[in-house]
């Protein structure tokens, strides 16, 4: 079974973002939506998350699915500690011991055990984004949506977060849909890259990246070739 968006149309004001647009996502894989800025990638995530309704068209396989999010900025509550921020989103029907266990587990995975009692103001930018990653995984979701989660971070931090994310994902393979305009990020993090055109959006290209995420290097010949091809398709 796949997750599918069938023949959707969506306009924002006079701009027609999507016209009869169809796209499918594999379960248990990381799919990257790569497209130029302003092509409606975030709107697509909002439609998938059920926050925005398409003007027409249907969504298949999303009913009853729980979704978690990683945003461009960590979006942590400043008055809650790292641990409390993770527990804040956990569903209310979970018993307290289970909430605690879930938080514990993912705090360990993002290596913030020593910082779980810190307020966000006292954490570094990278640590805050790791709390956001832990929060997304701790939430018992089927799908994780990410909206440019690495934008504005320096290269070292990006690689570090990609590694953290991939390590957790290897042991907990949820469906990830990840939006970016950055070719290198898409190459480093995804199993499949879908390139979007400018609006009205159509799929300009579709690539699978078969190398295990933790073994990838942007200097490897395969990724270098793919990178130049993706840049050409994007037309930037």
């Amino acid at each position: 079974m796949t997750l599918k968006i069938n023949h959707i149309s969506k306009a924002l004001g006079t701009l027609s973002l999507y016209r009869d647009f169809t796209i499918a996502f594999d379960h248990g894989r990381i799919t990257c939506i790569l497209g130029p800025s302003g092509c409606g990638k975030t709107t697509l995530l909002h439609i998938i998350g059920g926050i925005v309704l398409p003007d027409s068209g249907t969504l298949d396989g999303f009913a009853g699915k729980r979704i978690s999010y990683i945003f461009q900025d960590p979006r942590l509550l400043p008055w809650k500690t790292a641990r409390e921020n993770i527990e804040f989103v956990l569903p209310h029907d979970l018993p307290p011991t289970e909430r605690k266990q879930l938080a514990d587990h993912f705090i360990d995975l993002v290596e913030l055990r020593d910082f779980e009692g810190y307020y966000p103001a006292r954490l570094s930018g990278g640590m805050r984004q790791r709390v956001a990653i832990a929060r997304a995984f701790a939430f018992p979701s089927d799908i994780i949506l990410m909206d440019e989660p690495l934008k504005g971070l320096d290269v070292k931090l990006k690689l570090n977060l990609i590694r953290t994310f991939s390590r957790i994902w290897e042991s907990d393979r949820r469906t990830v849909i990840f939006v970016t305009h950055d070719v290198e990020e898409s190459l480093l993090l995804s199993n499949e890259i879908i390139v979007m055109s400018r609006p009205p959006v159509h799929i300009a290209d579709r690539r699978k990246v078969e190398i295990p995420v933790l073994d990838r290097s942007l200097e490897s010949p395969t990724l270098m070739v793919m990178k130049s091809e993706l840049i050409r398709v994007l037309g930037v």
Binding site: W79, H92, A121
Partner: protein, 251 residues
Amino acid sequence: MKISFTGKRAWGVASVVFIVAVWKLLSLLLGSEFVLPSPEKTLVTTLDLFGEKDFLAVVSSTIARGLAGFALSMVLGIGLGVAAGTDSRFNAFLQPILVTIRSIPVIALILLALIWFSPGSVPVFIAILTMFPFICINVIDGIKSVDPDLKEMAAFYRVSRARIIRELYIPGIMPFIISGASSAMGIGWRAIITGEVLSQPRYGIGTLMQGAQTFLNVDAVIAWTILAVAISFLFEKLIRMAEHRLIAWKR
């Protein structure tokens, strides 16, 4: 850290010493214990107040009025503030009312209150009308300042409305409530005592101030004033202590 703390404290003490020194100088220049009593004589008068008959009833009545006015202002201010902060139509309705209340001279309110209320409740009424707009306006500003990205995050994760209010809105506006409460308390005590001076309830600092003024006991007027300042100072401290506990996350 410790050094700068003691340093600041030293400057605070210096400020008090300066005020007393100017006072002493003026009293020497005027040369009349009748017009401006010396600080030391006033200090004795202040200490004598504690031994006065009904002292506790007087001070506790004033404090009780202040606290009643403050509590009602908090309820009214937070309630209306949350409503106006979350509903722009109600905000548009409330704004002219708040502006009107804030522009009315306090003395006009007192004159009307004297006709409408019993002497004991006039100061409370005045205090509410001077305090609650401060709290209300701060709460409205606070709600507007709650980060829309955080609201969106909570909505995406399907966090319940009750938790959003309790764990997102309330802590988010807490610094605004506290600063509103602090400015409200500051003007509130003054309003209470002004109200007491004019309404003459049976017990009240303002009542005795007015009495002392009538008999030209300047030292007693100043002594009661010192006591009023001390009460105001004490409650400001209490608010700062509450602030320290409630918004520990800022440090």
